[in-house]
Symmetry: C2
Subunit: 259 residues, 2 copies
């Protein structure tokens, strides 16, 4: 065993995504890496688990300080399998990404990348999801490597509060164009869906493909991730696993007459 | 058009689950129902979306006040497809369930049933996920039908705050054994995983099946869903879609030296 930090890495764009190798480049100077990545793209996998079938795991690379597995499961499965079977001790940090495309605002809920980060945080491991606001397969990851590494170094040094993960998003800019890093709250907004429709006359089924656009419901706010990104900052939103809407508990007791 | 409320129903245990038909029995006296349920079991689907393939939709039943579709997608897909393509106006309420098995505490994050409810809430529709603390296929749903209906009636009358869904869990008891309904916060706890392992000598892959048990990290708390359920109450946790850990923002600014 070396004295270097042990970092678990996963993603949702699969073992073949350029963003995974950008993460390896980002993290290699900072610690020993165990990579467990999905064998197929799992964008939009959220926090899904594979509960009815076994999950398959296969080692694909082993070199000094870098061990890579591919897994048939979801991003959250990858983290569970890694910590539950491959590792003898919890990693010092879990990183997910670098994701091809933004996971800011409510996208945190749909994101398989953040599913992996949140899963790690739920079991007490400091965790960071890193996403680049460009979803093309050949996006330029140089700014996300630079700023992701800065944030990872800070977290390795200072730790994170219990069960907290960081949702880090990086604007699609050159490193020298980025104005800094801001700790933010999740922007309020929603996805407005459209569906492309076709009819399968053989099966009688209707087929729908999801498309849509994001509607920012508070464009004037100065403390949200969306605003930080629009202004050229890297955004960090601390994410917790308690989904209780504390602010409405008393309201509900009165409106639903449940005391 | 009738004057009856329009209720959208989905689940994660699939079109074939007894809990779905328990929901139909629960809701039929209260409104007209559009059911869009996954064609295969999707337990543990969380908030996953199908983003790379089209989703298939097929009508399986149409009678007065009851229209049933099955969908190849996830529970969240079912809600998006229903509201985005099948319905001309938003439903008055979305119900998900009745789930075979508890979705209390952190299970809310993994639950496909709650994924459907949260998806509806995100687009502004009042939403309730109902789960029975018994995951067997032939569980007795009589208490969850009775108490689910009471809660649905209250929500149809009073509405819910914007973007709030309710995570309702019902103890596995007879209706007359249930002591009442409590509005709670999400219990703090975690799943301790174990994996059953076997090796596939043909492919060289290792196969892991997920098992585990829940560890309650605050068994003494008197205001959580777990405690309410243990004491024979139906629990309601209001769930929101803002995952920001507001309480640690200032701590993080100092510890990570990001201002």
């Amino acid at each position: 065993m070396t004295e270097r930090p042990l970092i678990l890495l996963s993603n949702d764009d699969s073992i073949n995504a350029a963003g995974l190798y950008a993460s390896i480049e980002m993290l290699a100077p900072l610690g020993d890496l165990l990579v467990v990545a999905p064998d197929v793209p799992r964008s939009g996998a959220s926090h899904a688990l594979t509960v009815n079938d076994p999950v398959r795991l296969r080692k694909v690379k082993e070199t000094e300080g870098l061990l890579i597995y591919t897994c048939s499961g979801t991003p959250a499965d990858c983290v569970k399998i890694a910590t539950g079977t491959l590792l003898k001790r919890p990693p010092d940090l879990t990183v997910a990404g670098i994701n091809h495309g933004s996971n800011s605002s409510v996208s945190v809920i749909y994101s398989g990348t953040m599913g992996a980060a949140i899963e790690a945080a739920m079991s007490g491991i400091p965790a960071i999801g890193v996403s680049l606001c460009n979803h093309s397969p050949d996006a330029d990851f140089s700014a996300s490597i630079k700023y992701g590494r800065i944030i990872v170094e800070k977290v390795l040094k200072a730790g994170l509060p219990d069960k907290i993960s960081l949702n880090v998003n990086v604007p699609d800019l050159q490193p020298e164009q980025i104005r800094g890093i801001k700790i933010c709250r999740q922007n309020r907004g929603s996805w407005i869906e459209k569906f492309e429709h076709r009819h399968d006359s053989l099966t009688g089924e209707d087929l729908y493909s999801l498309t849509g656009f994001y509607r920012n419901e508070e464009p004037e706010a100065d403390d949200t991730d969306e605003t930080a990104l629009e202004n050229g900052y890297v955004s960090i939103v601390p994410i917790h696993v308690d989904m209780t809407a504390y602010g409405v508990i008393d309201t509900l007791k009165n409106s639903l007459e449940i005391y």
